[in-house]
Amino acid sequence: MSARIGVITFPGTLDDVDAARAVRYAGAEAVPLWHGDHDLQGVEAVVVPGGFSYGDYLRAGAIASLAPIMREVVDAAGRGLPVLGICNGFQILCEAGLLPGALTRNEKLHFVCRDQVLRVDNADTAWTGGYAGGDEIVVPVKNAEGRFVAAPDTLAELEAEGRVAFRYVGGNPNGSMNDIAGVTSANGRVVGLMPHPEHAIDLLTGPSVQGLGLFTSVLGALAGASL
């Protein structure tokens, strides 16, 4: 039986369809989860996809982080459930306190939409175990609030513990501190990144198929193969 991976939809989510498609390409069953429900439907991992949520009023991801489904995700993450946040999903995970730091308006206020080279800096997380450390992948980035910031001591801790999962290579698109594109929780089960691996799983629609590795990695982690 294939693994069941939940994909959450909030009001304004855009990339849930592509995230579910990536889950299926990886060989798992994609289970739609609704923001207003308290039910994770027994899924073995969760993807919090990109787009917008609740109009991104207050701050991007702030109100979504308090949605009923996110209360369940936070509880389950505490028990080790693998969670991946992409773009707005990354913002939501930071606002929910599952990941450190915050995402702010891009340097120069540009909305950046381009294919971006990322380096996998930590290949020991639930979502990156299928890569080798130092691998470079090309995936689209598209956001206006992707500039990762954190307090100096938090940043030092992330670097010292190897918790920068992905770093921008060949040009920082938004002024993120230390070229950080994505980070992981201390236990490696929760990962968030601004670029969109779910858009890089098929050459018909993406610049590469190198984003699929995140979705296959978690299957390995669930099988106990890489953690």
């Binding site: 207050l58 702010t104 308006r105 340097e107 910031v149 938090t154």
Partner: protein, 76 residues
């Protein structure tokens, strides 16, 4: 009911790109020598039963993000 104002500002060390953009726009209407930082202003109508501790909690937990913002709570 009492009126409470919560003002939220980006921390001094956080690059405020919106404030910078406003500052630059000011030069286009001929005003120089002004640097703007942009924040948020919330006006709350609160029941008498809501204490200061609760007000500070909602400011720090929801209205502001302590990673990037400072805030003040003022009863007016």
């Amino acid at each position: 009911m009492a009126r409470v104002v919560v003002d939220v500002m980006p921390k001094p060390e956080i690059l405020d790109v919106q404030g910078q953009a406003v500052s630059r726009a000011l030069t286009r209407i001929g005003v120089t020598g002004i640097e703007v930082r942009q924040g948020k202003h919330f006006e709350l109508e609160v029941d008498e039963s809501v204490d200061d501790e609760t007000l500070h909690r909602i400011a720090g937990d929801l209205l502001a993000n302590p990673v990037i913002e400072d805030w003040t709570v003022t009863r007016v």
